[in-house]
Symmetry: C2
C-alpha cells in the first residue's frame, strides 16, 4: 500500500546530495584542467588539431548548457518512452485477445486465459517495483507536487525508480486493468529530467543550480502529460494546476516548448510507424461543425457537470476509504504484508473475473480495452435511435455495447457502476498507475448515457427553426469525460485536454460549463485525488484556501502562532544548547541576541547545533585532554608507563567512560542517570562512535576513581563554556512575519516561497513562530491543539483587550527598561501595518 | 501621446483611499447598528415582520459577499458591454458603407465621405477622452500589469475613465481604422470590477480587502479578453501571460468561471439577436478534419513562425520609434500639443486616404473592414488555384482581394506592408485602442500569402500516398495570425485564442510550433509591445530575466546592493531625523537599534517621520511654549499686557519666526540660512501652515531680540530631544535578503511579493539595501551607475578576497567588540546560506 515518508529523511538526503555534488564538481574540474595541461605540453604533430577539437568540444559543452537543448532532449526522450510504452501495452493487450480468441472452444480454458494473464502481469509488476524501487508505486503526481514545493523526497528521482516505473507501468497497463498512464508519466518525465540534468552536469556547470532544477522539473511535468495525451497545451495547464500553487509565468514557455516538441515527436512516430496518415488527435471525433449543439441542450450539460462533481467526490472518498480500510484491519493487513503480492493478485482476479466477456462482462462491454471503449463512446452516431436501441446498425467495436437481451442503457449503467468501484479499487494496487484515464472513460460513459437519453427523449432534436439537427450523444460523452476527470483532479484544464484529445473544440462552452460546475461541487466536498493521496501518505503539504472563505482575511498570525519559541542566545553556554536540544524536536532553532532583548539574529539548523555540541565533547578534544593530563601526570609522578598498544586501548576505554559521564554530568554531577537522555541530543555522533568503542570497553573495565572525577570536572567545565558559533552555518535572514499579518497573506507567502516555518517578530524581537503545522490546522479548522487558538471566523472588529496585546505590552516594557530614555510604538493601525508588511 | 506617471501620486492616492474607506466603513457600521437598535425598541405591529425583513436582507447581503456572485455579475456586465460596443461599431461601419455606397456617382464626394467620417469619429474620440479622462487613452494592459504588481495608479479605475474608455473605444473602432478592442477591454473589465467592488462594498464588508481586490482584478483581465473574443480559455491564459509574473493557481478558477460565463452570455446575445443560429466560434472555419495538413508542410509553418518573430519585433520597434520621434521633434511636438486633436485627425486622414477603395485601396482590399478581411483570409478555399489566380470564382467579400490587373499575391503583399505601418502608426493615436486585432489580421494575411504560394507551388498537394489532399491556405492564415500576434505580445496563448476564435483545433501542432518559434525570435530582439509601452510611459516595472541567462545565478545581492543605507536609530534625536530627511529621497527609512550594532528593527515611511518632526516643532507645541513663557514672563515682570487680538497676532508672528529659525538652527545656531532647506523635510506641514501665517507676519514685523534668542534656544532644545516613536507606524518586518542571495532568487522574490525594496542583513545587522532600481540595472546590464557594481557574468568560482568579505569582516569585528566574550560565524558556505534564505 502507501508508504510513509518523514521530512527528516528528506533533509538527510539533501545534505548527502550536496556533499556528493560538491565532491563531484571538484573532481570534474580538476580532470578537465589536467586534460588541457597535458595538451599544452604535448607539442606533437596533431597538437593544433587536438586543441581545435578541445575548443569545439568546449563550445559544444557551453551550448549544452542552454535550456532549449535540454528541453528538446527531454521532449525527444519522453516521446520515445511514451511511444515504446504504448507499443508494448498494445502488444500485451493483443496477446491477451489472441489467447482468449484462440481458446473459444472451451469456456473454462478461455476464463483461465482471460484471468491468468492479467494476474501474472500485475503480480510481476508489483513484485518488480517492490524489489527494485518501492518509490515507483502509485501515480507520482502527489510526490511531484511535494518535490516542487521544495521538499526533497529520498530516492524519488533515481535511475532505479525510472526503470521500475517504466517496466512496472507497461506490465500494469498491459494487463487491461482500469488503470491510467498519465500520473506515472508525470513522474517518469520528472525522473527523465532529473537524470538528464545529472548526465548533463558532467559537461557543464549550470546544472548544479537547485532553483533551475526545480524549473526544469516543472517543465518535465508538462512534458509528461503532453506526450501521454499528445496534448501540449492541456498538458502544460494540467501540470500547473496539479503540481503548483504559484506559477512563474517566465517558466511557461519551457513547458510549452518541451511539451509541444514531445507531442510532435510522439505523433510523428505514429505516422512513421504507418499507424496514422498524418498528425492528428489521439481520439479524433467527427461531430458536425455547423451546429454542434443547441442552446436548449445546455441544462443537460449542466446536469452532467453537477452529477460529475458528486461522482468525482465519491470516487476520491471511495479510494481513500479502501486504503484506510485495508490499513486499519490488522488481520488483513498482517496477512497482506506478509505476502505482499497477494493483494494485487486478488484484486486483479476479482476485476478480471467480472469483466470476463462470456460471463458478466457481456453486460458491460467487458471485452473492450480502455482505448476501444473510449473510441466507441466518443462515436458521433447515436446508439439509441428513436428510443429503440436494437434498430441501430452496430459495427466494429460498438458491437460490444449491444446485447441481444439487454437495452443499451442498462449496459451503460452497468459499465459506469462496475468500472467506478473497480477503478477506485484498482488504483490502490501497489503498482505504478494513474487514475486519470479510467475516470475519463467512466465520465465519457456517463456523458454518453445522458446523451443517449436525450436522443431518445428528443428523437428529432430540440431545435424548432425548421431545420432538424439531431442530438449528438458523442458530444455529451466529451463533456462527461472532461467533467468527471476535472472533478476528481480538481482541475479546469481537463477541458483543454479533451479538445486536444478529440481534435474538436466545437463543444467548448458546454465543456467549460460542465467542468466548472463539476469543480465547484467536488471542491466543496472532497480534496482532489492527489491531495487525498498526499494526506494518506503523510507528505508535507499546505491545504488550499478553498473557494471564497472570507474569514481568512480576519484571522491573524498572532492567533495561530506558537508563542513558546525555542531559542538560543548569542552568549549561551553549551549546557543551554544541550538543554534546548533535549526538550524540542524542531528542525531549526532561532538565534536571538539575548534573552532580554529577544532580537532575532538568525536561525540555526538542529544538525549544526548537534555537531557543535559533539565537537565540544567529542573524541579529538577528549584525546587531547587525556594526552595533556597524561603528560601532567607523567611529570607529577615521574612514572613511565609502557607506550603502544596498551596505552591506546586504555585511552579508548577512558573515552567510553567520558561518553557515559557526559550524559550524567549534563543533569547533575553526582547522581548517575541512565544513558538515554543524551541520545536525542547527540544521536548522530553517538551512533557513529559507539560501535568502535563498545568492544574495547569490554576488555578494559578497570578505571581509576581519581580519573573519573577529574573527567567529570572537565566535562562540567566544557559544558559551562560559551558556545563558539564560528564554524556553524547560520541562516542570517529567516523569514519573518508580523503579528498582524492575515492568515490569507501568510498562506500566500508560505506557498509562494515554499516555507516550512516563519518567525513572528515585533520590531526585531522574536515573539512567536508559525510552522506549516499551525497553518494547516488553522486552515482546516481543527484548532483545539495546545498552543493554537483561532478567533471565531468573521470577527472583523478586534477588541483590544486580548491576551496577545497584553503580552505585547509586557514584552515592550522589557525593551523599554533596556533603552530607558526612549519610547517605542505601542499601537499600529492593523490595516496599515498589514499592508506594509509585504 | 503617452503621459508620465510617478509613483508618488500613487502613494498619495492610496493614503487618500485608505482614509476615505475608513471613514466610510465607520459610517456604514454605525448606520446599520442604529437600524437594529431602532427596531428592537419599536414594539409595534410589524416589528416581527420588520426584523424578519432585516434578517433576510442581512442574509442576502452576506451572500452578496460570495465571490461567485461577484464574478457572475462581472461576466454579465462585461458581456453586455462587449455586445453593445460591437453592435454600435457595426452600425458605425454600416453607416460609412452606406454613405460611401450612396455617393457612387461622384468620386470626389465619395472620397470626402470616406475620409471625413473616420476623421470626425477619431477626433471626437480623442477629444472626448482628453476632456473626460486622459487615463483612458491607449491599450490599458500596461497599466493593468503595473496595477497588478501592487502599484496604485491614480484615477485609473474610476467611473469617469470607464465612460471615456467605452465611448472613446466605440467611436475609434467605428471609424474603421486598424485598431483593436482587446487591450481596452482588459482595462474596461478591470474598471467594471473596481466599480462593482466599490458598489458591492456598500452592502458587505469583504470588499474592502486589498488583496482580494487584486485577485478580482486579475479575474477581470481574463474576462476582458474572454468576452472580447468569446474565448474563455485563451482569455484566461492570455491575461495571465500579459499581466502577471507569478500566478496563484488558486485564482485560476475565478478567471475561468467569469470568462466562461461572460463568453457564454456574449454569444447567447448573438443568438437571441438572430445573428447566429446557435453558439459557435466568432470566426468559424471549415477546414477538413481528416487530413488537416501533411508532415512535409511543417517547414513552411516553421518559416511563418520565424518570419512572424522578426515581424513582431519590427512592429514593436516601429511603434516605439514613432512615439519617440514625435516626442523628440520639439517643433512638431509643440504644434501638436497646442492642437491636441490635430495629430489624430492627420493620421486618420492619411490612413483613410490610402485605403480609399477607388484609389490605392483597390490594390489592398481597402473596402473590407477588419472583421471582413479576417473572415476572407481564413476562408478554406484556395484563391491561387493552379498558379492562375484569375480562374477562381470569387464570391462575397473575397471579391475584394481580386483585382482585374493585379495578381492576388501583389494584393496580399501590399495589404501586409501597408497595414503594417498603418497599424503601428494608428496605435499611437491618443484614443482608447489596442493593437492585437490589427496585428492578428496582418498575421493572417501573411499566413495566407505563404499558404497561397505553397498552393501555387504544389497544386496537387505534397502527399504521395495515392490520395490527393490539396493544400489549405486558410490553415496557413490561422498559423500566421497566431504567430504574429504571439510575437508582438510575447505570449504563447494566442494559439489557444486562435483555436477558440476559429472553432477548430486541427492545426494545433503547426500553430504551436509557429507560435513558439515566433516567440523565441521576438523575445530575443525586442520587449513585448506592452513592456515597450510601460517603458515609454515610465511606469515602474521589473524586467523579465529572459531566456536562459545563466549568469543571474552567479550574481549575488552583495554585488548590486547599495551599501550606504540611510537609517535612523532607536535613540536618535530630532536633529538626526531632520538631517536624514534632508539628505535622502527614499520613501522608507530603516530603523536600527543603534549605529554601533546596526541591528535592523524595522522601517518607517518618510511621511511618518516628517509628521513626527513637524509635530515636535509644530504649531500646538509652540503655542504652548509661548503661553508658558508668557506666564513666566508675567510672573517675573509683573507687567500685565493687553490680552486679545493683538496678543494673538503677536503669537502668530512669533510662530513665523520659529518656522524660519528652525531651519537655521538645524544647521548651526548662529549662521542664518535661507528658508529652502527645511522645505523637503517639512513640506506638507509647512504648505498647510504658511498661508494663514504670512498675512499676519506682514502686519507685525517688530520682534524682541531677547525673545528671538530664547526661541532659538527652545528650538535647539527641541531638536536635541530624543525622538518619541510612540505614534509612528513602524513596519516591523521589512523584507530582508542575505548578501549571498543570487540575482535570480532576488528577482523571483521581488516579482513574487511585488517588493519595491529589500534590506540586506547579515545576522540581524543592516548592511545594505536593494531597490527595484538596482535590480533593474543589474538585469538590464547598465551597471556603471554609482554604488552599483556587477561581477563579470559566469564568474562562478568566487574568490574570497573581494571587498565585500573585507567589509563583512570589519563589520563583524564591531559586533565582536560589543559581545567580547563570544564569537560569531565568519564564513557561511554560499550555497547553504543561499538555500536557507527562503
Amino acid at each position: 500500500m502507501y508508504g510513509r515518508y518523514t521530512q527528516e529523511l528528506g533533509v538527510y538526503a539533501k545534505e548527502e546530495a550536496a556533499r556528493l555534488r560538491e565532491s563531484g564538481q571538484r573532481r570534474s574540474v580538476s580532470d578537465r584542467s589536467r586534460t588541457l595541461d597535458l595538451l599544452e605540453y604535448d607539442k606533437g604533430r596533431c597538437a593544433k588539431c587536438r586543441i581545435c577539437t578541445v575548443r569545439c568540444q568546449k563550445f559544444l559543452i557551453s551550448r549544452v548548457g542552454e535550456d532549449w537543448i535540454f528541453l528538446i532532449l527531454l521532449g525527444l526522450l519522453m516521446a520515445l518512452v511514451s511511444w515504446v510504452v504504448d507499443f508494448c501495452i498494445a502488444i500485451c493487450l493483443q496477446a491477451q485477445k489472441w489467447m482468449y480468441g484462440g481458446l473459444d472452444s472451451n469456456v473454462f480454458l478461455q476464463y483461465l486465459a482471460w484471468v491468468t494473464y492479467p494476474v501474472v502481469l500485475i503480480t510481476f509488476s508489483a513484485g518488480f517495483t517492490q524489489i527494485l524501487a518501492p518509490q515507483a508505486v502509485g501515480s507520482g503526481i502527489p510526490e511531484m507536487k511535494t518535490i516542487l514545493r521544495g521538499v526533497v523526497l529520498k530516492e524519488y528521482l533515481t535511475f532505479k525508480t525510472f526503470v521500475a516505473k517504466v517496466i512496472g507501468l507497461t506490465c500494469a497497463l498491459g494487463s487491461g486493468m482500469p488503470l491510467g498512464k498519465e500520473g506515472p508519466f508525470v513522474h517518469i518525465a520528472s525522473l527523465c529530467a532529473a537524470l538528464l540534468s545529472k548526465f548533463m552536469s558532467l559537461f557543464g556547470g549550470i546544472y548544479e543550480n537547485e532553483s533551475r532544477n526545480i524549473e526544469m522539473l516543472a517543465a518535465a511535468c508538462a512534458v509528461g502529460v503532453g506526450c501521454c495525451f499528445a496534448a501540449p497545451i492541456g498538458g502544460v495547464l494540467f501540470s500547473i494546476e496539479v503540481t503548483s500553487t504559484f506559477f512563474a509565468v517566465r517558466n511557461y514557455w519551457r513547458g510549452f516548448f518541451a511539451a509541444t516538441f514531445s507531442a510532435f515527436i510522439f505523433r510523428v512516430l505514429a505516422v512513421w510507424n504507418r499507424d496514422e496518415e498524418t498528425i492528428t488527435a489521439l481520439f479524433k471525433t467527427r461531430f458536425r461543425l455547423d451546429f454542434p449543439f443547441d442552446l436548449q441542450e445546455l441544462p443537460a450539460f449542466a446536469v452532467i457537470g453537477i452529477a460529475s462533481g458528486f461522482g468525482g467526490a465519491l470516487f476520491v472518498y471511495l479510494n481513500r476509504l479502501i486504503v484506510q480500510f485495508i490499513r486499519k484491519q490488522k488481520a488483513i493487513n498482517r496477512f497482506l504484508m506478509k505476502k505482499r503480492l497477494l493483494y494485487p493478485a486478488l484484486v486483479t482476479l476479482l476485476v478480471s473475473t467480472l469483466t470476463f466477456p462470456p460471463g458478466f462482462g457481456q453486460f458491460m462491454a467487458g471485452k473492450l480495452t480502455q482505448k476501444e471503449s473510449l473510441v466507441t463512446l466518443l462515436d458521433n452516431r447515436t446508439w439509441a435511435k428513436q428510443g429503440i436501441a436494437e434498430e441501430f446498425d452496430y459495427i466494429g467495436h460498438s458491437q460490444a455495447w449491444k446485447h441481444p437481451q439487454v437495452n443499451v442503457f442498462v449496459t451503460l449503467v452497468l459499465f459506469i457502476v462496475m468500472k467506478f468501484w473497480m477503478s477506485a479499487l484498482a488504483t490502490t494496487i501497489p503498482v505504478p498507475c494513474g487514475a486519470f484515464m479510467p475516470v475519463f472513460v467512466i465520465g465519457a460513459a456517463f456523458g454518453r448515457l445522458v446523451g443517449e437519453s436525450m436522443a431518445a427523449w428528443f428523437p428529432d432534436g430540440i431545435h424548432t427553426d425548421g431545420t432538424i439537427y439531431p442530438i449528438v450523444p458523442g458530444g455529451y460523452a466529451v463533456v462527461g469525460a472532461a467533467a468527471l476527470s476535472g472533478a476528481v483532479t480538481h482541475t479546469v484544464s481537463t477541458a483543454v485536454i479533451v479538445f486536444e484529445l478529440t481534435g474538436q473544440i466545437s463543444h467548448i462552452l458546454p465543456v467549460m460549463i460542465a467542468v466548472i460546475l463539476a469543480n465547484a461541487v467536488a471542491q466543496s466536498l472532497q480534496p482532489s485525488l492527489y491531495d487525498s493521496i498526499i494526506r494518506i501518505k503523510k507528505l508535507p503539504y499546505l491545504p488550499e484556501l478553498g473557494w471564497g472563505h472570507h474569514e481568512y482575511y480576519n484571522i491573524r498570525v498572532e492567533d495561530i502562532m506558537v508563542r513558546d519559541v525555542r531559542y538560543i542566545t548569542l552568549n549561551c553556554c553549551y549546557r543551554d544548547l544541550h538543554n534546548v536540544l533535549l526538550t524540542g524536536h524542531l528542525k531549526t532553532l532561532a538565534l536571538v541576541e539575548s534573552a532580554e532583548s529577544m532580537i532575532l539574529l538568525g536561525s540555526i539548523e538542529r544538525a549544526q547545533l548537534q555537531s557543535l555540541l559533539s565537537q565540544q565533547l567529542g573524541r579529538p578534544r577528549r584525546l587531547q585532554y587525556i594526552r595533556e593530563r597524561a603528560a601532567a601526570e607523567k611529570k607529577r609522578l615521574s612514572v613511565v608507563s609502557n607506550p603502544g598498544s596498551e596505552d591506546d586501548s586504555q585511552r579508548a576505554s577512558q573515552e567510553v567512560r567520558f561518553q557515559v559521564r557526559v550524559t550524567e554530568s549534563s543533569f547533575s554531577p553526582t547522581r548517575p542517570v541512565p544513558l538515554k537522555p543524551l541520545k536525542p541530543a547527540l544521536k548522530r555522533s553517538s551512533v557513529v562512535e559507539r560501535p568502535t568503542e563498545i568492544p574495547t570497553s569490554k576488555t578494559h573495565t578497570h578505571t581509576h576513581t581519581h580519573t573519573q572525577i577529574q573527567i567529570a570536572e572537565w566535562e562540567e567545565k566544557q559544558l559551562d563554556e560559551q558556545v563558539n558559533f564560528n564554524n556553524c552555518k547560520i541562516d542570517p535572514a529567516p523569514f519573518q512575519l508580523v503579528e498582524r499579518t492575515s492568515l490569507h497573506k501568510t498562506h500566500t507567502i508560505f506557498s509562494l516561497l515554499g516555507l516550512d516555518h516563519a518567525y513572528v517578530t515585533s520590531i526585531g524581537r522574536l515573539i512567536g513562530v508559525v510552522s506549516l503545522k499551525e497553518l494547516r490546522k488553522a486552515i482546516e479548522g481543527s484548532v483545539t491543539v495546545k498552543g493554537v487558538k483561532v478567533r471565531p471566523p468573521l470577527a472583523s472588529f478586534r477588541d483590544s483587550g486580548t491576551s496577545s496585546s497584553e503580552n505585547e505590552a509586557t514584552e515592550l516594557h522589557k525593551l523599554w527598561d533596556r533603552h530607558k530614555s526612549m519610547s517605542l510604538p505601542r499601537e499600529h493601525t492593523p490595516s496599515e501595518s498589514d499592508e506594509k508588511s509585504q
